[in-house]
Symmetry: C2
Subunit: 440 residues, 2 copies
């Protein structure tokens, strides 16, 4: 390498990619982080932006602001479209070639609609800030339209169908019910807001299948108390602009469908000519490098990392963060001529919140929490993981405000303007659930 | 009216329209506020959203949240397209007819480009939240592009031309320079950010022509200290996607042009078949009603209200607020069978801020302030006028944070996605300066 420091290129500024960059601070390498957005997004709180509790800047942090504190790391904003393996170069949509010595792929996952007709076109995804703002605006617009034309309630304008009973679906369902009953019922005193429906459709026979049975039951109970309609053991067979058709033959008039039923590796994985496993995830060896390509590493949702028993690891932020740190240490070991080690994910637990003082938490050492205690643990943990003191302060201020006043300050309709819409009445203002082009 | 309470329909939820609704609280009328957005926008701080210092929810407040506290007022979200005078009905773009007994028009103003070629297509306006977020995203994108291709600086990617030396232009120019030198210079350590230019073009021979001569000089000095390039006595003859052509024959390569040179009454005024004055403003009598139509009132930027000497009143928030209160009282007098009174605007002063500890304020009783004192007065006054305790707290938090850290938390690129852009490389991501369709 003749005096030149090895160059580590990291694709993706999410939990995994950032962990790599941070762990390489002070290591004699040059780190280049590439992302198509200029911010790190705290995805676990995205549903609160969609339900008007938080603003985008509360859960997003400029990547350049983070990397300022890592002298050997730099940022490059670009859409990655592939890799030239012979030249060891990353290829961008704008035609740039970015040479690397080590390449860490941490481009995450997108929504998978499994070919369900209409889902990609008519359902909302909840994977980035644009989705959250579009969903928030769309929801509030339905209420405004019903305020003018209450007969539209019958056509499902106030019905939200959430597909998928995992943490995203459950958290969204609970937050929507609170938004409806505590905020919008006051905003729309003349509207029969009690007729607004939130339906959660889940193929399995319970919500939160990754949790203990008792927590699944607790979560289902908390959802029912909040009048979320659970359709378990049911799948969606079709989505149209006006309704959702279910596997049991019924159909629900609904103008808002959130697809939270599945994820697929970012489509970048499909363009790399490397073996892929379930959900398009890139096959990796025990040290998270790509078999046969020891200088290519995959971190987080994009890769098919396994535990010692050969089970695929879940696509969760902690897996990505620990994987990122592991890869950074592995690169360091390589540079020092030492062998790499197997990645061992330390599962500290999982949690999901249903609403005010209602959450479930399953900690690794066998402890299960529910209710207020789980909820406080959830709040505390998310505040701690959130990047940046200002964001923590702002989220804390908003949460306190929302808790004390039942208010939601961000209930602003900021989608495409009324003017734009009236020019093109047939153009859907919703964003597709599936991103079929490559994103980093 | 046989038992029915008179219905006052107010078009526009800005400073003027809100003042009407608030002043009619408890008066035996039904108030219906109509706006195409679901929020009140605090326009004076819009430039801080455009320069990443504040978030949209900090300066916008849900109109339904405000009207909750006025039992006799309700909200209707619609785009107003005209009035059926014979039926005394407001007409909306969706085809609704809204009957009224009194109609208050407070739809504000839009940007006027005076037919300058290319201005409407290629310059940004700064009149609503979408403009501000689009401008912020566009600006940050130019820096990201230059980080990849520094040679593009020569093509004007880091040059912002602001057209118009009024308060908006001056405040934007100062805020941009602070963003560049204090925030982006640190974000882009490898980029020659000192080469980024902010040029302020003003047709008159000074900035802030509405202020005292001495304050004009102070403001110009403060701008020059911040390296804003002043082009006074100069006008813009053409705007293209790549450059701005000036009346002196020179042209400036610039990819970001902000049009802050003029306003025109909302185009709703053109559709009402009522006499219009300068800038399309609706001619009004001394009590702000439309001559010959005693139950039609015009408040704020939309109307051509005059002072006792026959001078047109300026298009400022305090004029709209006082006018709104006057019209509400006049409607009350009408209902009580009393004659209406002339509207007398009480000018308490004007102020503009250039940057940190730099502002100019001209108070009505002859007092002129500059520097830190004017700046503190400006901060205090804007916090006080801002609606909602949470918004005040959030703005105060953000201002304190920005002041202490020189940080700007909202520097997020949230315009159309890289994916969308790469699909249509020639589509401009900027919003047109002139809204040529009706908006309320």
């Amino acid at each position: 390498m003749a005096g030149r420091r090895p160059r580590v290129v990291v694709v993706g500024g999410g939990f995994g990619g950032l962990a790599v960059a941070r762990e390489l601070r002070g290591v004699p390498v040059d780190v280049l982080l590439v992302d198509q957005d200029n911010y790190h997004l705290f995805q676990p709180l995205l549903y609160q932006v969609a339900t008007a509790g938080l603003e985008p800047a509360d859960i997003a942090y400029a990547l350049r602001g983070i990397l300022r504190r890592i002298p050997n790391a730099h940022f490059f904003m670009a859409e990655v479209v592939g890799v030239d393996w012979d030249a060891s170069c990353l290829l961008t949509a704008a035609g740039e070639k970015i040479p690397f010595d080590h390449l860490v792929l941490a481009a995450g996952a997108t929504t998978a609609t499994f070919g369900v007709p209409g889902a990609a076109e008519h359902a909302f995804a909840l994977k980035d800030l644009r989705h959250a703002v579009a969903l928030r605006s769309h929801l509030l617009e339905q209420f405004e339209r019903c305020a003018a034309h209450p007969e539209l309630i019958d056509e499902g304008l106030l019905t939200v169908v959430i597909v998928g009973g995992g943490p995203t679906g459950v958290e969204m369902a609970g937050a929507l019910r609170e938004l409806f009953t505590k905020v919008l019922a006051k905003d729309f005193p003349a509207l029969e807001v009690w007729r607004a429906r939130v339906m959660l459709v889940e193929m399995a026979d319970s919500v939160l299948t990754a949790f203990h049975r008792s927590l699944q039951r607790d979560a289902a109970r908390a959802l029912k108390v909040r009048r979320v309609e659970l359709r378990l053991g049911t799948s969606v067979s079709r989505v149209t602009p006006e309704r959702v058709e279910l596997s049991d033959g019924s159909h629900i008039p609904a103008r808002t469908v959130l697809w939270a039923a599945g994820v697929r590796a970012n489509s970048l994985a499909d363009r790399l000519d490397v073996p892929q496993g379930r959900g398009g995830r890139i096959v990796v060896g025990p040290d998270l490098s790509v078999p046969g390509r020891p200088q290519i590493w995959v971190v987080g949702d994009l890769g098919a990392a396994k535990d010692v028993e050969g089970q695929l690891l879940p696509q969760l932020a902690p897996v990505a963060m620990q994987g990122g740190r592991h890869v950074a240490r592995s690169i360091r070991r390589r540079l020092e001529g030492r062998p790499t080690e197997r990645f061992r994910y330390v599962d500290k637990g999982i949690m999901a919140t249903i609403g005010r003082r209602a959450a479930v938490a399953q900690l690794s050492f066998g402890l299960c929490l529910t209710g207020s205690l789980a909820w406080l643990a959830w709040l505390f943990l998310h505040l701690v993981i959130l990047i940046g003191f200002r964001n923590r302060l702002s989220v804390l201020l908003n949460w306190t405000w929302n808790y004390l006043t039942w208010d939601r300050a961000a209930r602003l309709i900021l989608g495409p303007n009324v003017r734009d819409r009236s020019a093109e009445p047939s153009a859907p203002s919703r964003s597709p659930a599936a991103d079929r082009t490559t994103s980093t």
